[in-house]
């Protein structure tokens, strides 16, 4: 079931088309990654869903209800949580005070507020620092608190704009664990990210956007199938360079490696290994890899994500 549906979203800033008919769906309880190079329209799309950017055309449905996209008001988005890319916290307030304040601003009932804040402090692993001013926190701690402040009102759909930007790997792991907990609780999560590996590993589906259009979407396997095919990249490391060229294999790095693409590993790989043996070489190592999201991304956009 789709909890969020964007259809043909269009938005221009002067002559620049930030969104040029972008469409996507977010399903109940899934984590969806929105990928795209800088300027592709990711943030504009998130802001439009959050009611912070007025669309020139198209429609947005939240829980089956069509939202007003032309007035630029956030009304009708009560079940939505937004976590901005910036650390939008009050640095002189403590973690608890920030949570209490944002909870009130999001309309959390007074009798619910204190228990939710305590839960959020536990969820973010900040309970022991709850009474410290946020300005003393590390980047990762601020990021976690930033997320908690956006979900204190228990939204069913959460939008996160670059939730792990600028934090160390351990903090990133912790943040993705938090998001997984949300997803497991039935919350639908849409996040924009530059971290392809994380999108690949953590998100059920991926939407790739470029020049304001969604150019592909689906699971990683679906994306691979649709773009560079279902083949596997095989790397054979030999004891010495083969004397003759072997069919289907090309020289790889270091001179002793051969690289090839196989469609069916079970039937094609034994054949390749036999050909190498017949050529008088011994196989020291075999590596079989699926095509990465990075390869898919470059295939689709023609450029690296960080360009």
């Amino acid at each position: 079931m789709d909890v969020l549906k964007v259809t043909e979203a269009r938005k221009s800033f002067g002559p620049t088309r930030a969104l040029d008919g972008a469409s996507l769906e977010l399903r109940q309880g899934e984590m969806l990654a929105l990928l795209g190079p800088n300027g592709a329209g990711k943030t504009t799309l998130v802001r439009a869903i959050a009611g912070r950017a007025r669309l020139d055309g198209g429609a947005i449905e939240l829980f089956g209800r069509v939202l007003d996209v032309s007035s630029g008001k956030a009304a009708g988005r009560e079940g939505l949580g937004v976590v901005p890319q910036d650390i939008a916290l009050y640095p002189l307030l403590t973690a608890r005070e920030n949570l209490m304040s944002w909870g009130r601003l999001h309309g959390v009932a007074p009798h619910d507020l204190a228990p939710r804040v305590e839960r959020a402090l536990g969820w973010t692993a900040l309970a022991d620092r709850a009474n410290e001013p946020v300005k003393r926190f590390s980047g990762g701690m601020k990021r976690r608190l930033n997320i908690a402040c956006g979900i204190l009102h228990e939204p069913r759909v959460v939008l996160l704009d670059e939730p792990t930007v600028g934090v160390d790997p351990q903090s990133r792991e912790r943040i993705y664990d938090m998001l997984a907990e949300l997803r497991d609780a039935g919350v639908s999560v849409l996040l924009t990210t530059h971290q392809l590996e994380e999108a690949e590993a953590r998100c059920q589906r991926i939407v790739i956007i470029d020049h304001g259009k969604v150019i592909s979407s689906g699971t990683l396997n679906e994306l691979v199938e649709r773009t560079i095919g279902a083949g596997r990249r095989v790397t054979l490391t030999l004891d010495r360079p083969p004397a003759l060229a072997l069919p289907g294999l090309e020289p790889g790095p270091g001179g002793t490696a051969l690289v090839g693409l196989v469609r069916d590993v079970a039937t094609e790989l034994p054949t390749l290994l036999g050909e190498v043996r017949e050529a008088g070489c011994r196989v020291l190592d075999v590596e079989v890899r699926s095509p990465s999201l990075h390869a898919v991304f470059i295939h689709l956009t023609g450029r690296d994500l960080r360009e």
């Binding site: 008001k73 910036d86 916290l89 009050y90 601003l105």
Partner: protein, 443 residues
């Protein structure tokens, strides 16, 4: 290398309008204001002093004196006024002592001249037995009473020289013996001639070349009883019962200036919230831009009220400022002033693109307003032109209100002009801030 760094500095200066304004514009503005106030822009004259004039004597001597005062170019004499509370269309009536006192109390004139009954009989006696002219003075403008005292002496000498001569001869005969009949005839003839020439015009002619600011004008003629051509008694109708009255001026002046600084600083948190993304997040919560601005305005207003209260309480404890008897008026003025200052701070914050820009612009505007509006030196020192410009400043109206409370013991209802102006300013500031803040709303 040094040249390169200087070059970078020059490019930065060329592109930073705030720094340019702070470096070149603000000093010139301040120099001009100070030169205008204290240097009278190269002129040797002061602006005409507004006075109310009451003639209780109604003798030929007093009438001639009144006529001469009316022609005195350094005075703007008022002899009539509408009764208190009368309609605007009601005819003006000749002033009496009570109404003249009211005009001083209300701040319409800084000085009222009362020529008492019996003045004409002793006019020009040059001793202390004569009837003294009373100057009903608003001591919040100490310059005006000093100037008028000097002008009274000057006018006495020029308005009725024949009477002065007769009084002089009377004094001579009293102490030196009577004149001979021949001397008396000669004196009578001369007296008639100078009476004919006793031109009040001469006073006007004199004053065209110089008023109280001229080097020849008496510098300090006033006092409880003066032994000059006329005796002058200064009566302070406002500040006589007050302890350390001038302190309320400084307290209000400084408080309003720093209120504006703190309001613009607090308004600057809005820019910080824009830069940190907090405002963006606020706008995705239940708080819309109107709510955010209203909350900011209320907070800055409360902060301003607290700031002024602390200042005046300090003044009361350390400098005997007369705060407690004026509490209701003080709170009304403080609330209105703080509210308008908060609105002003929000306008600046919503106008500027960065905290740095806000700092520069607010410094320029607040210091200029404070100088023109009376926070740095009393407005009675200012030439009329600068006073008029000052009326466009926030400070002038706020200080007028505090002055009405602390000097004129104004009742709450009498503060309506200041309340109205500050209320209107608040409404305008908030409307402008709301319109300017639209750029941060949905794109």
């Amino acid at each position: 290398m040094i040249l390169t760094l200087i070059g970078i500095g020059l490019v930065n200066l060329r592109r930073d309008r705030v720094v340019q304004a702070m470096t070149f514009f603000l000093p010139i503005v301040f120099f001009s204001i100070f030169a205008g106030v204290f240097g009278s822009q190269g002129r040797d004259t002061m602006d005409r002093v507004r006075v109310a004039l009451v003639d209780e004597d109604q003798t030929s001597a007093s009438l001639r004196f009144v006529a001469a005062l009316q022609k005195e170019g350094s005075l703007r004499v008022r002899t009539t006024a509408r009764p208190t509370g009368a309609d605007r269309k009601a005819p003006e009536l000749p002033l009496d002592r009570a109404r003249a006192t009211g005009l001083v109390r209300d701040g319409d004139v800084p000085v009222a001249i009362v020529i008492p009954a019996g003045f004409g009989a002793t006019f020009g006696s040059f001793d202390t037995t004569g009837k003294a002219i009373e100057l009903l003075s608003d001591s919040s403008d100490p310059v005006a009473s000093q100037v008028v005292s000097g002008l009274l002496q000057k006018t006495a000498m020029t308005a009725a020289p024949d009477l002065m001569a007769r009084q002089g001869l009377g004094m001579f005969e009293k102490y030196g013996g009577p004149l001979t009949p021949q001397q008396r005839r000669a004196m009578d003839s001369w007296s008639r001639r100078i009476e004919g020439n006793a031109a009040p015009d001469s006073a006007g002619a004199d004053s065209a070349g110089g008023g109280p600011g001229t080097p020849g004008a008496p510098s300090n003629p006033a006092g409880p009883a003066l032994a000059g051509a006329v005796q002058v008694k200064v009566v302070d109708v406002l500040g006589e019962k007050k302890t350390n009255p001038i302190i309320s001026f400084y307290a209000a002046g400084i408080a309003v200036m720093f209120l504006l600084f703190s309001a613009s600083g607090a308004g600057g948190t809005l820019i910080e919230e824009v830069e940190s993304g907090t405002l963006e997040r606020l706008l995705t919560s239940r708080a819309g831009m109107g709510t955010v601005l209203a909350a900011k305005w209320l907070f800055i207003t409360l902060l301003g009220v607290l700031q002024i209260v602390v200042m005046f309480v300090w003044g009361m404890l350390v400098f005997q400022l007369d705060l407690l008897p004026h509490l209701p008026g003080f709170f009304v003025m403080t609330l209105m002033t703080a509210g308008a200052a908060a609105g002003f701070g929000l306008v600046l914050a919503t106008l500027c693109k960065s905290r740095q820009q806000l700092g520069g612009l607010s410094t320029i505007l607040i210091l200029t307003q404070s100088a023109l509006g009376g926070s740095m030196f009393p407005r009675f020192l200012m030439p009329e032109g600068i006073k008029k410009i000052g009326n466009f400043t926030f400070n002038a109206h706020a200080l007028d209100g505090y002055q009405a409370v602390f000097w004129r013991d104004a009742r709450l209802i009498e503060l309506w002009p200041q309340v109205l102006i500050l209320g209107a300013l608040t409404a305008v500031f908030l409307t402008v801030a709301r319109l300017l803040a639209r750029r941060w709303e949905t794109v």
